[in-house]
Assembly symmetry: C2
Homo-oligomer: 84 residues x 2
């Protein structure tokens, strides 16, 4: 799983946890709804600016957002290692 895909997964989880639609999140972050959809599917990778705008709209520090990605990446590594 690519970094962009893990980012998209964390983004979607946090958005759904806050009961926000993609439209609402897009509005809050000043981004386009289509762009949110591309990010959540891991088709697009965010810039640093977009990361901070999304974290702000999702009421978490950007560092916590990244930390969640690191946790999920480590979990993936664990399962990939167990497949050997």
């Amino acid at each position: 799983m690519t970094l962009a895909k893990v980012f998209g997964k964390v983004l979607k989880q946090r958005r759904e946890f806050l009961n926000l639609s993609q439209e609402e999140l897009a509005f809050e972050a000043g981004l386009h709804r289509t762009y949110i959809s591309l990010l959540e599917r891991g088709v697009k990778s965010p810039t640093l600016n977009v990361l901070f705008r999304l974290a702000n709209a999702l009421d978490i520090p950007a560092s916590q957002f990244i930390q969640e990605i690191e946790v999920q990446l480590k979990t993936l590594e664990f399962y990939e290692d167990s497949e050997d």
Copy 2:
């Protein structure tokens, strides 16, 4: 000060702390030396992928890198507020 400029400052501080040249960091991260220079000067803003590659080359978690940016952004806000 823009987010890109704060990122560049943190990047340079960490690189110099480790006594790495821009060339050495570029090699470690698999990026071009010119790109490191543009990032450090805040001319370019990194993508999520570049953030993780740089953090890895600089031996810190990407989340800690971002946390350092958050600390510096808060300090800047403090000084900007005091100017009123």
